[in-house]
Amino acid sequence: MSRQTARPTDSRKVSAELFTLTYGALVSQLLKDYENDDDVNKQLEKIGYNIGIRAIEDFLARSNVTRCNDFRETADVISKIAFKMFLGISPAVTNWSPAGDEFSLLIENNPLTDFVELPEGHNKLNYSCVLCGALKGALEMVQLEVDVKIVQDQLKGDNVTELRVKFIKRLEDAIPAGED
């Protein structure tokens, strides 16, 4: 007599899809509100930044990582711990620049883009650029200023989604005027 209920594994997967679906609804709304893709990209990055500055606290509280000694360690922590914790994926860290200040994150199964196709006429939309904003915001809270760009996008036909992370500078806390 009882109705067959969804299996537990299914409902965990579905709650992961909640985030994907909500993000998709947001992007659709932004496309309606703004006429050009660059504005949408900027908004998505801003939203990502705001999420990043909060998510970093959650991350540090839950992951018990210690301070990274160099940028390579930072890259590993981002890929193996942070991405794993929040999105359940481990992007590969590759394409280090000779100076060691730039690297790429290669994402093969981007959970944000499940069920997504880019509509016609929106070729400049960087659907995943919320990730760029989030990384930038999160790293800024740990005193690293970085620039993050999407260089390859699976939604646009590439094999992987590639985020290029470039270290700009370390941020020092500014001492308030009048104190030494």
């Binding site: 109705r3 067959q4 209920t5 969804a6 299996r7 299914d10 409902s11 965990r12 997967k13 579905v14 709650s15 992961a16 899809e17 909640l18 985030f19 994907t20 679906l21 909500t22 993000y23 609804a25 947001l26 659709s28 709304q29 908004q43 939203i47 705001n50 999420i51 909060r54 998510a55 959650d58 914790m85 929040f86 999105l87 359940g88 959970p111």
Partner: protein
């Protein structure tokens, strides 16, 4: 598998985005926009959730599904109290609504709390609509973080 906290952060940002407009007519539309987004997410979510479920016996069975399975998937808990007048009005009570727990629980932010309930209302309305039920969903908060969702079934 996206983390739970991420959905809450994203929802906060969406609420903030919708309410950030300075134009007066945009302000009135903010709640409508949020509700619409929730509606679309609810429709799609319920499709995924009920992939292997058999058909619901009746309206009450559908509402129980919303209170148990849907609420568990979205908010990691079940609805605490379901009441109905058996004439198409259902009241769902959640004593500790997940999207309100991070807000302060005094009287100060009761009005702002409604902004955070627009998306969940839409979610319920969308889920019901894809299960064949047209409804109007409203929410009210009297004491944080508890809230009540009132569902009025529209019989055509």
């Amino acid at each position: 598998m996206a983390d739970d906290g991420l959905f809450e952060f994203l929802h906060m940002e969406i609420v903030s985005y919708c309410h950030n407009n300075d134009l007066k007519d945009e302000k009135e539309n903010a709640l409508a926009k949020l509700e619409c987004m929730g509606y679309r997410v609810g429709q799609r979510l319920v499709e995924r959730l009920t992939k292997e479920c058999s058909r619901f016996k009746d309206e009450l069975d559908t509402m129980k599904f919303i209170c148990k399975e849907l609420w568990t998937v979205v908010y990691r808990k079940q609805i605490d109290n379901l009441r109905t007048n058996h004439q198409g009005v259902y009241v769902l009570q959640d004593h500790k609504f997940k999207l309100l727990t991070q807000l302060s629980d005094g009287k100060q932010y009761l009005d702002s709390a409604l902004k955070f309930l627009a998306f969940p209302c839409g979610l319920i309305r969308g889920a019901l609509s894809n299960l064949g039920i047209t409804s109007v969903v409203t929410a009210e908060v009297n004491t944080m973080p508890a809230c009540k969702f009132q569902i009025q079934i529209q019989r055509v």
